[in-house]
């Protein structure tokens, strides 16, 4: 406790919060007691360090906000380089590699012809789409959970005495045939991205559910089977708009070795996973996808893949059936082309990716807290 008293005194002393009388007394005590004085000096030094730390920390925060604003305005652009600058950059970066590669290329090409052809002839394993079709057991369980939740909701509804009609409709759980994931890309017009193969499961209704368990009706406005992307619009009037996206969506492809994390709904609650980018292309060298080394399960289809700087790099789609931990994700630039397509559709011209990145430099639990409100469970029947 004495230590606490002393640290309190030292803090008020540094901040100049002591009265003149207190101050004189404090200084007197220090003069007469060198041991105590040493402790006070240590405390003061520590406070100065702490103050410098918090100054820099808060300044960095202001800088990040400014960068987010300017990036949003398009003043700071992270677009790939063009023209001469790119050439100079590539040359500088790879000149040594190019020389070595060129000399090795000759030798390797002779050896590899046989090897590759024999490999491609052998039967390669299939990939598995990661949408979860709910079987009877799971369905029952989900319904049970729903019922408990809806009872709770009823209680809350009663206590709030809200109009019974809307509440009733909301509390009836839909019998879902599948479960997958999606994430918000436009917080103003409420557009959500997921996989095309997810949307195809829904023949009657499509529902998105947030991390609090609230359900909202949605409809598919864009489905592209070629790159397996779909864009949904939340049509429910009860859906409250969120602040701008905490992540940015990267316009360039994922880099090999980048550390990534993802959030998705392989079960009834949100699940976190992490891994890294293990190859630049997907199954059978499909350039729409990149390959990740991570664990993903049914229900993860449509999960956002985000790097530590808060840049969204891809969308989880499938995994290899025979090899553990090989997961494929659609590369993020495909989102931009999908958005361009949606712009051509009447009534949806206003779609716009509106991000204000705030994740850079924050620790993972904080990042997750900020992102999870933007990740939705996609259900339907």
């Amino acid at each position: 406790m004495d230590d606490i008293l002393l640290i309190d005194a030292a803090e008020r002393y540094v901040k100049g919060e002591m009265t003149a009388e207190e101050r004189t007394y404090f200084e007197e005590v220090r003069k007469n007691n060198p041991e105590l004085d040493q402790l006070v000096v240590e405390h003061i030094f520590f406070f100065n360090e702490l103050n410098k730390y918090s100054d820099t920390k808060s300044f960095k925060h202001s800088l990040n906000e400014t960068v987010a604003k300017l990036t949003n305005e398009g003043f700071i652009s992270k677009a790939p380089l063009k023209g001469k600058a790119k050439l100079v950059y590539m040359w500088n970066r790879y000149k040594r590699t190019i020389a070595v590669a060129a000399s090795i290329a000759g030798i390797v090409s002779i050896i590899s012809v046989g090897a590759i052809s024999s490999y491609t002839n052998s039967k390669v394993p299939d990939t598995k789409l990661l949408v979860q079709k709910l079987d009877e057991q799971v369905k029952q369980q989900a319904v049970k959970t729903r019922q408990i939740e809806s009872k709770l909701k009823d209680v809350i509804a009663d206590s709030k005495k809200q109009p019974a009609e809307t509440e009733k409709e909301k509390s009836t759980p839909i019998e879902s045939k599948f479960r997958a994931t999606g994430f918000l890309i436009d917080n103003i017009n409420n557009f959500i991205v997921t996989n095309a193969h997810v949307v195809k499961e829904a023949r009657h209704r499509l529902i998105v559910e947030n991390s609090k368990g609230e359900q909202f009706r949605a409809e598919a406005v864009y489905i592209n089977n070629d790159n397996d992307l779909a864009i949904l619009k939340v049509t429910d009037k009860d859906f409250k708009s969120l602040p701008p996206l905490p992540y940015s969506i990267r316009k360039t492809n994922a880099e090999l070795g980048e550390q990534i994390f993802m959030l998705g709904y392989p079960k009834q609650e949100i699940v976190y996973g992490e891994g890294y980018v293990s190859a630049k292309n997907g199954y059978k060298m499909d350039t729409i996808y990149c390959q990740l080394s991570t664990a993903a399960n049914e229900g993860n289809s449509g999960s956002p893949v985000i790097n530590r700087n808060g840049e969204l790099l891809g969308i989880i789609t499938s995994r290899e059936t025979s090899t553990e931990g090989v997961v494929y994700a659609i590369k993020s630039p495909n989102i931009y082309s999908a958005v361009e397509e949606v712009k051509k559709i009447k009534d949806y011209e206003k779609i716009k990716i509106t991000s204000a990145p705030v994740l850079k430099g924050t620790d993972r639990p904080t990042q997750i807290k900020k992102v999870q409100d933007y990740v939705f469970m996609i259900k339907g029947n």
Partner: protein
Amino acid sequence: MKNIIFLFFGLQIHNRSINTHLVNTSSPEKSLLEGLAREDKEAIEKIYRDNYNMVQSLIVNNSGTTDDAADIFQEAMIVLFEKSKSPDFELNCALKTYIYSVCRRLWLKKLHQMQRFSKQTDELEQVVPVEEELEFHEKRQNDFSIMENAMSKIGEPCKSLLEAYYIQKKQMQQIATEFGYTNADNAKTQKYKCLVRLKKLFFAQYKNGK
């Protein structure tokens, strides 16, 4: 104003004119720096607007990425922030030249660390000497990471509690409500307990690090 062509890794990359008149900071720049010291958003934004693209092309034209540019610029801003807060602060050249010099120096150093540094040709470009400031900055950076490390080790709720008080500068009463303490005094006691732990962790590393 003077046109300078300079060589960097043996490649001619720039053809830029930089104001290097050795005059004292002109008054608009001075008020900009005063704004920076107060952490004024408008000042920060203006400095970004005036200089960011210059720095980005410097980095990108010299084996860097746009992400590298963002990091280097942020570090230069911190150097400038530290400098603007010191009482005897004076800038002896145009702000742009200063930022350019700092970023260039920081980037060279980073390249060196990444071993992508082949050889530096004679310095033909005009930059102002910034070594002293960067040495100071490096020490501060080191102290900063020791504190950050200590912060990351004290765990919750200590971390959030201390951050709320020292970084977000919230009042004790508000913190007590947010963290569910019965009153401000309880929160204060908890804060001091956390502080004692943080201090221990900090000094353990500070002494080892030296």
